[in-house]
Symmetry: C2
């Protein structure tokens, strides 16, 4: 019984070395630098071993992106905890600010989560989708009191995540103007505070605004 | 005097051929396929001529992206004209829907505008920045009555553009769930209608909400 265990441990150790090498290369040089031969060399194993463990380079990239998603999730959870006693607008802004801070601190790793595309027809592994859902669940949790219908709450969480993501991404890419953290925060606040104000109103009217959910 | 004119015409004709070749390759194969040697071959000129006209491959990519920005701008202008008699929320939604429709109809060209990055230290040419500003001006025009302070209006236009862009991009990238145009539109509506409702209120209170502009 000891042989397979030892092999598992060996495999786990190489897996961890490959992941560490990939994270290092990613954070310094970006997604395009994640090449199988180079990572195998950095982790002192063969390319065959890399493929054996991760299936292909996309499998390794997904594993690295999963580490990023989890770290991002932890940063957002900490922000949500710190803001838990505040009102909806302030709680959503705390999440948005934590998102911007994470993206600024780990730009290449953060970018890789969104830039990496699986080959056509390859499905996203279940574990990855689950980590992604956990991020959205953090926003949904803040909206429980304001939006009682679960499907509407999910749409709202997606919309807020994507809106803040768009503001952070175009700001960091300097696609509209030079990056300015204050401008970026003002843009996030413009969206978040209006949505929070609207939701608080919706809740006091007991039903969400018809204009928003018409056509569901 | 006729010689230089003839040369200009010749240059213009090759420029147009290179642009047409680049647009064709971009819309079929995406940004990564825009390689100098191939485009020169497609346009029946030398690589030296391509560099002579556009400076480098980035210059040619910027010129192609400028064509995309202008076409996108025309699509948004048409949507704004068609919705001009409607209320703020409906006008902003018409712009958002036109943006989604453009991205769906020309996914690779649209993506290239945001994916292309100039080498570090290279400034964006003035003509390109001007075309980009024209897109934002379309949103600002809709906000004139609701936000009288020009700097606030600019922040709001940036925020709305980036929010809708983020929703469209993550939806088309299937980064959160499989693409579903109805879901994408519901997410845009969630943001846009709340902002429009909030702005109409702000305007009736005569001063924008302090929570949103605090810290300017």
């Amino acid at each position: 019984m000891s042989e397979p265990l030892a092999e598992d441990t060996f495999r786990e150790r190489i897996r961890a070395r490959l992941l560490a090498a990939a994270r290092e290369v990613l954070s310094n040089e970006g997604l395009a630098a994640l090449q199988a031969r180079r990572l195998a060399r950095d982790a002192a194993c063969s390319v065959g071993t890399l493929y054996n463990i991760f299936g292909d380079i996309d499998g390794l990239i997904l594993a690295v992106n999963q580490v990023t998603l989890r770290a991002l999730g932890e940063a957002l959870e900490a922000a949500a905890r710190n803001a838990s006693s505040r009102n909806l607008g302030e709680r959503l802004m705390a999440l948005a600010r934590a998102y911007l801070a994470y993206a600024c601190a780990h730009p290449k790793s953060w970018r890789a989560v969104f830039a990496h595309r699986l080959p056509d027809g390859v499905l996203l592994p279940h574990f990855y989708a689950a980590d992604r859902s956990r991020l959205l669940a953090l926003i949904e949790a803040e909206l429980v009191a304001a939006i009682t219908e679960p499907l509407h709450r999910r749409v709202a969480a997606h919309a807020l995540f994507s809106a803040v993501h768009g503001i952070v991404q175009l700001s960091l890419d300097e696609k509209l103007v030079d990056f300015d953290a204050g401008q970026c925060e003002r843009q996030m606040r413009f969206i978040v505070e209006h949505v929070a104000a609207g939701l608080t109103e919706d809740a006091s009217r007991a039903t969400p605004s018809d204009a928003i959910w018409a056509g569901d």
